[in-house]
C-alpha cells in the first residue's frame, strides 16, 4: 500500500517537471537553413543524420538524399550534425542559409581522451594499460551497483556478485588476486579516493576508467596494487546554452534465476528408509513441500532519474535526482536509494576556475535472514503449517517461514561524497589546483525479533523458541577528508610535448560505532523499538546484556596519510612516448621507521602506426606498442595491527554469591615491524586499428609479483596469544600473470550499424612463498564452512585459497575392496574410497590434498550491438572457465537434512554405482572431498535489450529531442554445470572464495524503460 502511494508521488513529480520544461520551449523565430550532409569516406549522401540546434532540443533528420531543412532562432545558433560512426560537426549559422557538411569517419580508439590519475591524456599518448567504459554501457544493467557495469566489458576485470540480496555490493578483482588481504581496487570518484561506491547512481556517470598496469596506477602509490577505477560523473557541456533535460525510467520484475534440484517428499522418504528402515511407512502418503517455492517470489525493481545540464557565461552545471528501488525475491528484504547529484564549474576569469562535485545519497535497506540455507536443508516431508494455520516445527533447521515472518532487520543511512576545488592557470602552461574532498557516511542498524515459539506436534516447545523479544540498535559513522594540491604543466614545443603533474595530498579517515542490545521489549510494534535500561539489565528476568554494549572505532577506517606525487609524460613527434611516475606515501598504519615508502614506475610507448614505413601499409590505421614497469602497494590492513594491545573486555568471577569483577591483560602481541606490501608489475601491450579502424584491438601481457604481503599467521601456542589468534606479518609472495585481449569490430552498412566485441583474460595465480623470513607458517588455512571445517589451503605452488580435501576414487563395492585399501575407520562398504595420496599405507588427514581452484583460468565477455533506423539491439555475454566451486552447503550435515537430486543415483549394492555412495545423513561420505567440487565454468547472457527511438517527426511534434523505449532482460540464462543457484560465488575474503555456503540467489530481471531528452 505504502509502496503504491510512493510510486504515485514519483510519477506526479516527474509529470510536473516535464510540463515545466515544455513551457520553457515556447519561443521560436522562423527562419530556415537548408543543406546536404555527405559522408567523408565515400562521398555518398548520408540519410538519417541528426541535425540539432546546439543547446536546444530542436532537430531534424536528413532525408534519403542527405538533404535537410531546419528552422533556426538567431544567427548565434550553432547547428550540430551527427551520425553514428562519424565525428560530430558544429557550424555557427551566422547569415548562411545553406550549410552543406561533410562528416568525417570517427577514428575510434586512439584519439579518445582517457581520464587517468590526476589528469587526462589522449589515448595515443598513453603508455599505461587503461580501459574505458562509457555511460551507455554502465546503465545496461539494472543494479544498485555501478561496478556491475564493468562485468564482461573490461579485459582483466572480474566482477562477482557476492549475493543477490537487494543492494549487495559485488566483489571486483583487477588482474587476479594479488594479496591475502582485501583485494578490491580503489575507486576515485571525481578525484575523491574511496573504497566503496554504493552511493553512486549509474545514470550520473560519464565514464569509468580501469587503470591496470603500474604505469597507470603508480600515481596512487600505496593504494594502487589492486587496480584503480576512476569514475567521472557527468557535468554540464560547454555550449549547452539551453538547459538539457534528461529523464529515464525503468521498471522491472526479478525472479530467482534457477532453483536447486532437491529431493521431493517421496524421494526423501525412500532415501530415509534406506538409511533408517521404517522411517516412513507409506512413501506415497508423505507430504511434499517445495520449500524453495515458498520463499521465492517475483519482486519489482525500479530505477528513475531526472537530470538537467547546461552552461551559461560563467557556470556549467549538472543536477540530477535518482531513485533506485529493489525488493528482494525473498520477503522482508529491499533496498531503496535516493541520489542527489550536483556538479558545477564556475569560470570566474580566463585563469581562474572553481568547481564542485557533490553526491548525497540516503538509503533504506532491509535484510532477510539467511533462509536460502534453511530451505536447502528443510526436509520436504514436513509441512510448513499445522492444520490450525500456525507454523509447524521444521526439525533441525527451524521453520524458514517463521524466521522470515519474525525478522525485522534494517539499515538506514546516508552517504555524502563530494569535493570543491579551485584551479588557476598561469604562465600559459601551468595549472595549480587545490581540491578538498569529503566522504561522510552514517548508518543506523536496527533489528527486532518478537518473542515467539514454534511448538512440536505434541505441544511442547521446539528449539525454535525466542523466549524474550530482542532488539539491537547500532550506529556507525565514517568521515574521510582528502586535500589534494597539484600543479601541472602542459606544453608543446615543436615536436616535443610535455605534460607533467606534481602534488601533495593529505587524508584522514575516522570512524566510530556504537551498539546496544536489549531483550523483553515492552511491545512488539516499531514505536517501541528504543532501548530502555531495563532491556539491558533486568535480574528479575535473568537479562544481562551489559557485556553486549560496544563502542569502538572501525579498525579498517581509522588512519591518516600524507603523499607526494609526480608524473611526467613526454611525447616526441607523436611517436615516442615516455612516462615516469613517482609517489611517496606515508601512513599512520605503520610505525615511524616503516612509515614512508616510494612507489616509482616507468613506461614507454611507440606509435608505430605513425612511422612512415607503416603509414603506407594498406589497412593498418594505427599501431602502438607500449611497455611499463613499476612498484605499487597495498595498505588495506587495520590501523592497530602494529600495536600490542591490552584486552580489557574481560571479567572474572569471585565471591559468594558469584559476582563479576573487571579484568584486563595483554591481548595478542602486535608487530611493530610491519611495512608496506609491494607489487612489482610489468606490462607489455599492443594496440592496433585495422581496415580504417573498423577492427580495433588491444593485447596485453601482464605479470604482477606481490612481495611482503601482509598476512595473518598463526603463532605458536607458547606465545600465549590464545587459540587461533593470528598476528600480521609481511610474510608471503603471490604472482599473477596472464594475457588480456580486446577485439572490436564495427561497421556501418547503409542504415545498419553494428559492432561486435570480444574480450578475455587469462589468470595464472600462484603463491610463491608463505612464512618467509619469520618462518612460522608454511600454509594458510581458511575457507571455513559453517561448522568450522576449513576447505581452502594456500601453499607455495598453488593458487591462493585453493580447495583441499580427500580425493575420491570410486566406492568400496565389497568387504574385500575395503580390506585391501587403507581407509578411515568410519568407512564401510558402499562408502567413498579416499585415495592414500602420500602412499604411506595409512589413510589420515595428511592425505587431504589440492582438489581445485576457485580462481578461473579465463574470464571473457562477448558484446554485440546493432542499430537499424530507430531500432537498437544489445546482446552481452560474459563468463569464465577453469575454476571450481566447493559446494559447502552440502557438506555441513550434523543432522538429517534434505539432499540434492544426485543422491537418487546412490550405491545400493555391489556395482550399482561407483560415484554416489550409499545414502547417509552425514558423517564419513560428507567429509570435505572432491565429491563436492564442481565445475565453475559458465556462460551467461548478461544483457539482452531491444530499444526503439521515436522518429524525429514524432518527437519534434512533442518537443522532445529524443525519445527511446526499450525492453531489457538481465541474467536471462546461464549455461553451467554447477547445481547451485549461481556459479558466480564471490567473497571479500580471498581465502574463502568460491565456496557456496548457501548464498542469496542472484536474480533474472525483465524490465521496460523509457529515456527522454528534451
Amino acid at each position: 500500500m505504502r509502496k503504491k502511494s510512493l510510486n504515485r508521488f514519483w510519477w506526479a513529480g516527474w509529470m510536473a517537471m516535464i510540463l515545466l520544461m515544455f513551457s520553457l520551449q515556447a519561443f521560436t523565430q522562423p527562419r530556415t537553413v537548408t543543406g546536404k550532409v555527405t559522408a567523408g569516406d565515400t562521398g555518398d549522401p548520408l540519410p538519417g543524420a541528426n541535425i540539432v540546434i546546439k543547446g536546444t532540443a530542436q532537430g531534424v533528420i536528413s532525408d534519403l538524399d542527405g538533404n535537410y531543412e531546419i528552422g533556426i532562432q538567431s544567427p548565434e545558433d550553432i547547428l550540430v550534425f551527427r551520425f553514428i560512426g562519424y565525428v560530430d560537426q558544429a557550424v555557427q549559422v551566422g547569415d548562411l542559409s545553406v550549410i552543406d557538411v561533410v562528416l568525417e569517419v570517427e577514428t575510434v580508439g586512439l584519439e579518445e581522451i582517457v581520464v587517468i590519475g590526476y589528469g587526462k591524456v589522449k589515448k595515443s599518448d598513453l603508455t599505461g594499460s587503461v580501459s574505458s567504459v562509457k555511460s551507455e554501457d554502465i546503465v545496461k544493467i539494472t543494479s544498485a551497483n555501478v561496478e556491475q557495469g564493468l562485468q564482461g566489458k573490461v579485459a582483466g576485470v572480474q566482477v562477482t556478485s557476492t549475493s543477490g540480496a537487494p543492494g549487495a555490493v559485488p566483489s571486483v578483482r583487477v588482474r587476479g588476486v594479488g594479496t591475502f588481504n582485501n583485494s578490491s581496487p580503489i575507486f576515485v570518484v571525481d578525484g575523491v579516493i574511496l573504497d566503496n561506491i554504493s552511493f553512486l547512481n549509474s545514470a550520473d556517470i560519464e565514464s569509468m576508467e580501469v587503470l591496470k598496469d603500474a604505469s597507470a596506477t603508480a600515481i596512487y602509490g600505496s593504494r594502487g596494487a589492486n587496480g584503480v577505477i576512476i569514475i567521472t560523473t557527468k557535468s554540464g557541456a560547454e555550449g549547452l546554452a539551453k538547459p538539457q533535460f534528461s529523464f529515464s525510467s525503468e521498471v522491472g520484475l526479478q525472479r530467482v534465476a534457477r532453483q536447486i534440484d532437491l529431493l521431493d517428499g517421496r524421494e526423501f522418504a525412500i532415501i530415509s528408509n534406506e538409511i533408517k528402515p521404517g522411517s516412513y511407512n507409506n512413501i506415497d502418503a508423505v507430504p511434499n513441500t517445495d520449500w524453495q517455492s515458498l520463499i521465492f517470489s517475483m519482486a519489482p525493481i525500479q530505477n528513475h532519474q531526472l537530470s538537467v545540464s547546461g552552461a551559461g557565461d560563467i557556470a556549467r552545471y549538472y543536477m540530477g535526482i535518482g531513485y533506485f528501488g529493489q525488493d528482494g525475491i525473498i520477503d522482508k528484504s529491499f533496498y531503496k536509494r535516493l541520489s542527489l547529484k550536483l556538479n558545477n564549474v564556475y569560470q570566474l576569469s580566463e585563469q581562474f576556475r572553481l568547481g564542485n562535485n557533490i553526491t548525497i545519497a540516503p538509503y533504506n535497506q532491509r535484510n532477510a535472514p539467511n533462509v536460502t540455507y534453511s530451505v536447502y536443508r528443510a526436509q520436504p516431508v514436513l509441512e510448513p503449517y499445522y492444520s490450525d494455520g500456525s507454523y509447524a516445527v521444521v526439525y533441525n533447521v527451524g521453520n524458514p517461514l517463521a524466521d522470515l515472518a519474525h525478522s525485522n532487520n534494517f539499515n538506514n543511512g546516508v552517504r555524502g561524497v563530494g569535493n570543491v576545488y579551485a584551479e588557476a592557470s598561469f604562465l600559459h602552461s601551468f595549472t595549480l589546483k587545490s581540491s578538498f574532498g569529503v566522504d561522510a557516511a552514517y548508518n543506523k542498524s536496527e533489528s527486532f525479533t518478537p518473542a515467539y515459539t514454534i511448538y512440536n506436534p505434541d505441544g511442547t516447545a521446539s528449539q525454535q523458541d525466542n523466549t524474550f523479544s530482542d532488539l539491537y540498535k547500532g550506529t556507525s559513522d565514517n568521515l574521510t577528508w582528502l586535500w589534494e594540491n597539484t600543479i601541472s604543466f602542459d606544453k608543446i614545443f615543436d615536436k616535443h610535448y610535455i605534460n607533467a603533474v606534481a602534488g601533495y595530498t593529505m587524508q584522514k579517515t575516522t570512524s566510530e560505532q556504537y551498539g546496544l542490545s536489549g531483550a523483553n521489549i515492552l511491545r512488539d510494534n516499531p514505536e517501541f523499538w528504543y532501548i530502555n535500561p531495563s532491556y539491558i539489565y533486568d535480574p528479575s528476568s535473568n537479562i544481562d546484556l551489559v557485556q553486549n554494549i560496544n563502542n569502538s572505532v572501525d579498525p579498517g577506517q581509522y588512519y591518516s596519510m600524507i603523499s607526494y606525487l609526480f608524473r611526467a609524460n613526454y611525447t616526441y613527434s607523436d611517436k615516442y612516448i615516455f612516462t615516469a611516475t613517482f609517489r611517496r606515501d606515508g601512513s599512520s598504519k605503520f610505525s615511524e621507521d616503516n612509515r614512508f615508502a616510494n612507489f616509482p614506475s616507468f613506461a614507454a610507448g611507440w606509435n608505430i602506426g605513425r612511422e612512415a614505413f607503416i603509414e603506407d601499409v594498406p589497412h593498418v590505421s594505427s599501431l602502438k606498442l607500449r611497455a611499463s614497469w613499476g612498484i605499487i602497494g597495498n595498505d588495506k590492513i587495520t590501523y592497530f595491527d602494529r600495536y600490542a594491545r591490552v584486552q580489557s573486555d574481560i571479567i572474572t568471577v569471585f565471591g559468594f554469591p558469584d559476582n563479576a569483577f573487571p579484568a584486563a591483560s595483554y591481548g595478542k602481541s602486535g608487530n611493530p615491524d610491519l611495512k608496506w606490501e609491494s607489487t612489482k608489475q610489468t606490462d607489455i601491450g599492443l594496440e592496433f586499428g585495422l581496415l580504417e579502424n573498423r577492427l580495433t584491438g588491444e593485447l596485453d601481457y601482464y605479470n604482477r609479483m606481490t612481495d611482503d604481503i601482509l598476512v595473518e599467521l598463526s603463532t605458536p601456542g607458547h606465545m600465549g596469544n590464545g587459540l587461533g589468534q593470528r598476528i600480521r606479518y609481511n610474510a608471503a609472495s603471490v604472482s599473477n600473470s596472464g594475457i588480456e585481449f580486446l577485439l572490436n569490430w564495427r561497421e556501418k552498412r547503409g542504415d545498419f550499424n553494428y559492432s561486435v566485441g570480444i574480450l578475455g583474460s587469462t589468470i595464472h595465480n600462484e603463491v610463491k612463498s608463505i612464512g618467509g623470513a619469520s618462518g612460522i607458517d608454511s600454509t594458510l588455512i581458511g575457507g571455513y564452512l559453517g561448522n568450522g571445517q576449513p576447505v581452502t589451503l594456500s601453499r607455495v605452488g598453488l593458487p591462493i585459497g585453493a580447495f583441499y580435501g580427500y580425493v575420491t576414487d570410486g566406492i568400496f563395492q565389497n568387504t574385500e575392496e575395503l580390506g585391501a585399501c587403507p581407509h578411515l575407520s568410519q568407512a564401510g562398504v558402499g562408502d567413498l574410497r579416499f585415495v592414500d595420496t602420500n602412499d604411506d599405507g595409512v589413510l589420515n588427514g595428511e592425505d587431504r590434498t589440492f582438489i581445485g581452484s576457485p580462481i578461473p583460468d579465463f574470464i571473457f565477455g562477448i558484446n554485440f550491438s546493432a542499430a537499424y533506423r530507430g531500432f537498437d539491439l544489445a546482446v552481452d555475454f560474459h563468463g569464465q572457465a577453469g575454476n571450481e566451486i566447493f559446494n559447502g552447503k552440502e557438506v555441513v550435515r550434523p543432522d538429517p537434512y534434505n539432499f540434492e537430486q544426485h543422491v537418487m543415483e546412490r550405491w545400493t549394492g555391489e556395482n550399482t554405482s561407483d560415484t554416489e555412495p550409499r545414502p547417509s545423513f552425514g558423517g564419513y561420505n560428507y567429509l570435505p572431498s572432491d565429491r563436492f567440487i564442481q565445475n565453475g565454468s559458465f556462460l551467461r547472457l548478461r544483457t539482452l535489450s531491444l530499444g526503439y527511438t521515436l522518429p524525429e517527426s514524432l518527437s519534434e511534434r512533442w518537443h522532445i529531442a529524443r525519445a527511446r523505449i526499450y525492453l531489457k532482460g538481465n541474467n536471462i540464462f546461464t549455461l553451467t554445470r554447477f547445481t547451485g543457484y549461481t556459479p558466480e560465488i564471490g567473497s571479500n575474503d580471498v581465502l574463502s572464495n568460491g565456496i557456496d555456503n548457501g548464498i542469496y540467489p542472484i536474480t533474472a530481471i525483465y524490465s521496460v524503460g523509457l529515456n527522454l531528452t528534451f
Binding site: Q547, I562, I651, D658, A663, S665, P716, G720, G722
Partner: protein, 495 residues
Amino acid sequence: MKRIINLSLLLPVIIILTSCEDFLQINPQGQMTQEAFPTTESDALLATNAAYTVFRQWHYHSGGYPILDIMSDDAHKGSNPNDQLPTLGPYDSFDHTATQDGLDRWWSTLYEGIKRANVVIEKVPSIEMDETLRTRYVAEAYFIRGLLYFDLVRAWGGVPIIETTEPPLKIERASVEAVYNLIEHDLLEAVKALPEKSTCSDDQLGRATKGAANALLAKVYLFQGNFENAETCALEVIESDEYDLEPVFADASGILGEHGIESVFEVGAIGVGSQSNGGNQYANTQGVRGSPNRGWGFNRPSLDLINTFEEGDPRMDATVIFLGEVLDGVTILGDGTTPDEVEDDQGNVIEIECYNQKVWVPGNTTDTQFGHNRRILRYADVLLMAAEALNENNKPDDALYYLNLVRERAREGNETILPDITETNKNTLRDIILEERRRELAMEGHRFWDLMRTGKAAEVLGPLGFTENKNELLPIPQTEIDISQKILDQNPNYE
C-alpha cells in the same frame, strides 16, 4: 582575482610546513597498548583478575571436552552415538593422534593463562602501590602459573618454559624435571605470600590461598613420588583448620557447597550462557541431553564406575544421573537420539544412558548450567593425598585415619555401609586408597592421571586400548609442531 591566484600559489608552502609526523601518529582508540599497562594499583588488580579468567574458558577444561575422564575407565564419550564421534571417539579407544580435536585448544589456552600470570609476575613488582596487595597479587599469579604448568607437564611431559611476557617465536621443549622445578618454585612463592582462606572476605572467595597452594604442592610432589614433601604439604593444609568435609557428599561439588568448607580452590561462574558474561561451559558440555535440555551430555559414567561403588555407597547415586531419576523436582527423561542401553555382540549391556551428576545445577534453563563452580581442589582430595603419602611413608595408622574420615562422610550417618578400613599392609592399602580416590573423586578429571602416576594405567586401561610407552602422554598438537617448524619433538610413538 590576481590576489586569489597569488594566494593559492602559497598553498603548497603552507601545507608543507604542517608537521607530518604528528599527523601520521595515531594511537589505538579506546584500548591501551602493552607498554602502558599495568602501571597503577588498579591495573595490578585488573591484570591479576584476568589470569583467573582462563579457568572459565571452555578450552581450559582439557580442550573443552572432558577427555581425561573419557580416556579413563570412569567414562565413555557420551552424547548420542554419532555426536563428535570422529573428534572425541578416538580418546575413548586411545586412537587419538596429533591432529585430534581439542589438543591445540588446551595447549594454547594453558599458555594464554601463563602469559597473563607472567604479566603480573613481571610487571606488578615495579608498580608503586600497597605493599601487601602487591605481594599478594604476584603470589596469586605464581599459583596460577604453577597450576597451568602442572596441567601441561602431566598432559605432555616436558614443554616450552615461558617466564616472560615477550617469549621467543621458537623454543624447544624443556625437560620434565625442569618444568616440575618451575612449578615447585612458583608454588613455594605462592605458599610464602598468600593469605589463608579465612582471611578472605566473602567477595574475595575464589582467589588463590595458602591452603590452595599447599594442596596443589602436595599433589605436585605426589606426582613426582616425593611422598615426604607431599605429606608435609597435605598435613599443613589439614592442620591449618581452614577446611573440613561437607556433611553431605553431593554438596562437595554441588551448588550448596560453593565456596564452602570443603572448597580449596574453586572457579566461580555465573549462570549465563556465555563465557564473556561470566558463565562456564564446563558443566553444560556434560549436562543432561534431551529432556530436560541442560547440555550436550558428554562424559557418560561407565558401568565399570557404577559397579565399583560398594553396596549402598550413597556416592554412586550422587555421581550418576540415571534415566527416570527426579532431581530438584525435574524428571530426567534423557535424549531421544541416544539409546537407553547399548549392547555388545553377545547381548551384554555395555553402556547405559546416564549423566555426570557432579555438574548438575538446579534450575530450568541451559544457561543456569553455566553457573556450576568447578572445584579444582577440594578437601577430600587433600585427605586422600595425605593418606596416600602417609602410607608410603610407613605411617599406616595416620593414613587410615584420614582415609576413614572420607569414608565416614560418605556414609552420611548410615553405619551399615562403608565400614572403616583397617588394612595396614602398605601395598594393599595403596590399592585401597586408589580405589577410594576413584569413588570419591569420580568424574572430576583425576582418575586417568592417578592411574598414570601409580603405574596402573597399562593394567587397568589396557583392555580399553591403552598402549604402554605411548598413551601416558598426549601427542604434542600437530599444528604446534608445524608452526614451530619441527623444533618441538613429538612424544614417543605418536609419529
